[in-house]
């Protein structure tokens, strides 16, 4: 288990995510806004590349390429002096952590990756065993927020009292690396705890709480009906639980619920009352951020205006 006290707030490389950047840039700006407000020491490095996760899970990139690219990104992090890779996306988190374990424990893979670097004259990218620690150099942004929960509570400008919120923790955070989760991996409470600090009333347990969002990378495209059926199952449960806000920590889940909720409503002839946002957007709102300039809600498919009006933000 990851101890909350061990989560750093210094030397964080805020690892950009392609899904966040493309789909919900407001998640990144909201995270930066919150980090700035909380005094977190981080940097964003334009030399960093995609983690390849989407490509990897849709069978476009095989493991060695993914590992080599991860090794390159690790070198970027080390070189700029911000070795604590902090991800906005749970897939980036799991891919990087896994690649680091592989590079540390599998000599054959490490040698292959390094020989590619040397062959191409990128000696500065060479990865030596133990350059990164899979347990202490990789974090998800939500962990940083959790470690600052007291400060969030102190600094909050806007109180979400009475908002019935539900957390959707990401599989690639708490199922792939389940030994390294803050708290009980069968019942992660990171988002719930942070949301509560912002005044919301999280629904601590609901039916299908641990169900995946249904995206399944290629599954959304190859087995669309199954994929959407899974998403619908969880939306139905949340509807029954009277949830008005679903809070995410991974852009993949976020896309699946926010972009596809209207699709499901149309295809299955149902209606849902809930809106979606990332935990960083929620915290940013609570700290007084602008819903559009900082949180970027204009890029969402399920309109948030009703929610924002009801809560008095706009």
């Amino acid at each position: 288990m990851k101890a909350i006290e061990s989560i750093p707030d210094r030397k964080l490389l805020l690892f950009k995510s392609c899904m966040v950047g493309q789909e919900y840039p407001g998640v990144e700006t909201a995270t930066r806004y919150v980090f700035d407000r909380l005094g977190v020491d981080y940097c964003i490095n334009d030399e960093q590349s995609c983690c390849t996760g989407i490509g990897h899970y849709t069978d476009v990139f095989e493991g060695l390429t993914t590992t080599a690219i991860a090794a390159r990104n690790f070198a970027v992090a080390r070189k700029c002096g911000y070795p604590n890779i902090t991800c906005l996306c749970s897939t980036c988190y799991a891919i990087n952590k896994e690649a680091c374990e592989l590079l540390n424990t599998n000599t054959e893979v490490r040698d292959k990756v390094n020989s590619i670097f040397i062959e191409k004259g990128f000696d500065d990218l060479v990865y030596e065993k133990g350059d990164m620690n899979p347990r202490t150099n990789f974090y998800h942004a939500v962990e940083i927020l959790l470690s600052k929960v007291g400060k969030i509570q102190e600094e909050k400008k806007f109180d979400f009292s009475g908002i019935r919120a539900a957390a959707h923790h990401a599989c690639h955070y708490y199922k792939v690396k389940y030994l390294d989760v803050v708290g009980n991996p069968e019942n992660p409470q990171l988002i719930d705890t942070i949301a509560e600090a912002c005044g919301a009333s999280p629904v601590r347990w609901y039916e299908d709480r641990t169900l995946t969002c249904g995206m399944g990378f290629s599954q959304l495209h190859l087995n669309k009906s199954t994929s959407l059926q899974v998403t619908k199952t969880k939306l139905d449960s949340l509807q029954r639980a009277g949830v008005e806000l679903m809070i995410h920590m991974c852009p993949n889940c976020h896309i699946q619920y926010d972009r596809y909720q209207p699709v499901i409503e149309k295809e299955f002839g149902v209606e849902y009352d809930m809106v979606h946002m990332n935990i960083a957007q929620f915290v940013a709102l609570s700290l007084g951020a602008d819903p559009y300039k900082v949180c970027g809600f204009q890029t969402h498919s399920v309109p948030l205006e009703g929610f924002l009006e009801k809560t008095g933000i706009i």
């Binding site: 989760v181 069968e186 019942n187």
Partner: protein
């Protein structure tokens, strides 16, 4: 007797045993005798020195020759050491004047070459003679043991232990934190019986035992009492107890009038939190002692309101609001810890809905519900229906006041339903490697689930019961019971359920993969019962820390040896039994409690206790009171009021760590002083020998075992027994090199017992430090950890090191 100053060996004699050829066929005893006699030493030999004739020979020669020191060449001292010790002591000789040379396991049996074996035998005998030149008598250490025992915890294990102790004549205090003894077993309605394939009334077995405890003249029962602290050491523990006020005097007749008039209903912890109890109550109707007890948190009178209804109702004037907390101090010789378990907090598995859905409960709660003295008087009802009923204002009767109301069935006609479908989920919190779970099997839950399924099937045959299991562990004769339950039509699904879902009508659905056919199933249920893991009770955790006992990673109190010392805790004089030690059922708890009582009795009755005298001894003249030795890992050393370092002989294990810490040589282990070890080194070594310092425990047994296993090694391997290799400092190693050792090997015990777990890391770091200090010579010292069966490996090490030595020679 010697005064320790006698020089020379004129009063010494050597006795050599032939061991019926075991020694004499490999060692030329005549040659040995001749050589030693030429040096002016009396030597005697006999076919079997361990026989009574052999012992008489030794005794006669000691008395005839007025001998003050004796060397016996025989089998390993771990075989007949005690016998020979007793033999020489009978002549009045101090046991410090006896040395035993191991001529069998470490000579005759391992060196097939007769010349080599004979030479080695001679060197072993010479070493022991040399050791005796400056004889250091060993003082007898004796302590008086307090002739009474304390049992902590009044569950079935504690009750059994206390009764066994008392029946064997030991005055016993039984301390229980609750207001009645009985523990968890009192909560269980029925217990299973594997031989009769039947369920028996738990209270019918337990109640007579509880009454026996109360009536036993040798048992002092202290309920509503907790342990505050424990000090002192084995044999003389000072225990401080806090007896909470009951506010009811012993003159209580348990008529129940007080409870009937009490206006404050409280949660009944005994009945899984149902509001069926009053602020003045008995824990349960068969409570022992049968004295009511007032809950100070809820009593109106004690919280400043004028009530006093109970006092008015009481005919015997037993209510006493002025009672105060009492501190009791006891001096006991031994302690038995029987503080038990609690159920794992199943709300840590929110996917099963405990605490969220009303109709999800634990096996223990189901046991309460089916118990005739439970909240529903034994009737199986849906909790959601029952809790609706119990919210209604109740008449002033309570469980304790209505023992006779067995005609209860008419009470629940108001729509409460008997569950038709019950699903039981096994291994909740057991066999679970996830964070918050426990890796171990809790041992009782398979049988508890089967028992409850069987009981329900008998009383409500229409009920459909499904048990979701990982494996059914019905060990031993319980398999018959498992079969019998299967035949009643209970369903079994092999799979660990993923989630429990509640429907709007409060019924439930259990989602599970049947792993035998890989199908996802949704099992409808009116009641879901979770078989929760057994975890150490808060009392067990508290006592372990108050008493400073070793615990395993889950918090259970660790036994000293799982096979050989299953009820000895890490501290002498403190024993453990029941579920405080590990998860187990009633049968096993009772068996273990009996053993704990026997062990505690043996400990107490061996008084005054002669202690192992090979423990640390402090030379106050040399001691500078620097305090270094207080780092003793067992806390055996302390400073007394006058600032002197004193040793607790009951705690000291004689490991010798303090001898390494003491820069002034003020601490030595008796029997293994520097001068004794130096003398032995000088006596035993020849040029080019390999010298082994062997821990007298497992390592020494392993060395003997090489001989038993008909393995061999060269005769230039010489072994010296030490309490642990911690006593072997730099000076001793240099001394060995000076006297011809080609290499020095440290043979240590593995960290397999609580004591060795402490000592082993010290020995490895001691060795490492020594190696560094020795510089170049450091390359000639070696370390080996050894297990008893590892004879081949150890003999191999001896051989290769000895060969190297021969090459140097």
């Amino acid at each position: 007797m010697t005064d320790g100053t006698t020089d020379g060996l004129d009063k010494a004699a050597v006795f050599i045993c032939h061991c019926s050829g075991n020694i004499s066929e490999h060692v030329d005893i005549d040659a040995v005798k001749k050589t030693l006699k030429a040096e002016g030493i009396s030597v005697f030999d006999y076919e079997y020195l361990c026989s009574s004739q052999g012992q008489s020979l030794i005794k006669n020669k000691i008395l005839e020759g007025n001998l003050d020191r004796v060397v016996i060449g025989s089998c390993t001292p771990s075989k007949h050491g005690t016998l020979f010790k007793k033999c020489v002591q009978e002549t009045g000789l101090n046991r410090g004047g006896l040395e035993i040379a191991n001529l069998r396991e470490q000579c005759a049996w391992v060196h097939p070459d007769r010349t080599g074996a004979t030479e080695k035998a001679l060197s072993l005998l010479r070493a022991k003679l040399k050791r005796l030149e400056n004889i250091e008598p060993l003082e007898e250490i004796k302590v008086d043991i307090a002739q009474q025992a304390l049992v902590i915890g009044g569950g079935i294990a504690g009750i059994t232990a206390a009764l066994n102790l008392a029946d064997n004549g030991i005055s016993t205090f039984l301390v229980e934190k609750d207001s009645s003894i009985g523990g968890q077993m009192a909560k269980i309605g029925k217990i299973f019986s594997p031989d009769k394939l039947a369920e028996e009334c738990a209270m019918c077995s337990l109640s007579p035992l509880m009454n026996e405890v109360a009536a036993h003249p040798k048992i002092s029962l202290l309920t509503w009492t907790e342990i505050e602290s424990l000090s002192g050491s084995a044999g003389n523990f000072m225990v401080r107890l806090k007896k909470k006020p009951r506010y009811v005097k012993d003159s209580c007749t348990a008529c129940g009038r007080c409870s009937r008039v009490c206006p404050v209903p409280v949660e009944d912890e005994f009945n899984c939190g149902y509001m069926d109890k009053k602020a003045i109550s008995l824990r349960f109707s068969q409570s022992v002692p049968k004295i009511y007890c007032i809950d100070p948190d809820y009593c109106l009178q004690l919280n400043g309101e004028a009530c006093g209804k109970c006092a008015t109702a009481c005919k015997t004037g037993a209510i006493d609001f002025s009672q105060k907390e009492e501190i009791i101090e006891l001096n006991v010789g031994a302690v038995i810890v029987a503080t038990g378990f609690e159920e794992y907090d199943v709300s840590q598995k929110p996917q099963y809905g405990y605490g969220i859905f009303e109709n999800v409960l634990t096996q223990m709660e189901l046991a309460r519900i089916m118990g005739i003295n439970g909240p529903t008087k034994g009737e199986l009802l849906r909790i959601s229906d029952f809790s609706k009923l119990s919210n209604a204002p109740k008449s002033a009767t309570c469980t304790s006041g209505c023992e006779s109301s067995s005609d209860h069935s008419s009470d629940n006609s108001s729509g409460a339903e008997t569950p038709k479908r019950i699903v039981m989920i096994q291994c909740v919190g057991s066999r679970d490697e996830k964070e918050g779970g426990n890796r171990y099997c809790s041992r009782y839950c398979c049988m508890a689930a089967l028992k409850h399924a069987s009981l329900i099937k008998k009383k409500y045959p229409e009920t459909e019961i499904t048990i979701c299991y990982i494996d059914v562990r019905a060990f031993g004769f319980y398999e018959n019971y498992y079969r019998a339950v299967q035949e009643t039509g209970v369903n079994f699904v092999r799979g660990r359920p993923a989630e429990v879902i509640e429907k709007p009508d409060k019924s439930l659905v259990v989602r599970v993969e049947d792993t035998l056919n890989q199908k996802i199933r949704e099992l409808p249920a009116d009641l879901v019962v979770l078989s929760a893991a057994m975890v150490p009770s808060p009392g067990t955790r508290k006592i372990a820390s108050v008493l400073n006992l070793s615990q395993d990673e889950s918090g259970f109190i660790k036994e000293r040896h799982s096979k050989l010392k299953p009820v000895d805790s890490s501290l002498d004089g403190i024993f453990v039994c029941g579920t405080a030690q590990s998860p187990k059922d009633v049968t096993d708890a009772i068996a273990q409690a009996g053993l704990a009582a026997v062990r505690a009795r043996a400990f107490i009755t061996d008084s005054p206790k002669s202690l192992d005298n090979e423990i640390a001894a402090i030379n106050q003249l040399l001691c500078t009171r620097c305090g270094e030795c207080l780092k003793c890992p067992f806390n055996a050393l302390s400073l007394n009021e006058s600032g002197r370092v004193v040793l607790d002989p009951l705690i000291c294990t004689g490991c010798g760590y303090c001898t390494e810490l003491c820069k002034d040589g003020a601490v030595q282990v008796a029997g293994f002083t520097k001068s004794q070890l130096k003398a032995e080194i000088e006596g035993v070594l020849e040029e080019g020998d390999m010298l082994g310092f062997v821990n007298s425990g497992i390592a020494s047994l392993t060395c003997d075992n090489i001989g038993n296993s008909v393995l061999t090694y060269p005769s230039n391997v010489k072994l010296i027994k030490v309490p642990t290799t911690l006593v072997v400092g730099r000076d001793l190693v240099l001394h060995a090199f000076k006297h011809g050792a080609s290499s020095v090997l440290f043979v240590e015990d593995p960290p397999d017992s609580p004591r060795a777990e402490v000592i082993y890391p010290l020995t490895t770091s001691h060795f490492k430090k020594l190696k560094e200090e020795l510089g170049d010579s450091g390359s000639r010292i070696y370390f080996k950890k050894t297990y008893v069966p590892n004879t081949k490996g150890l003999a191999g090490t001896f051989t290769s090191l000895a060969r190297e030595g021969e090459m140097i020679k």
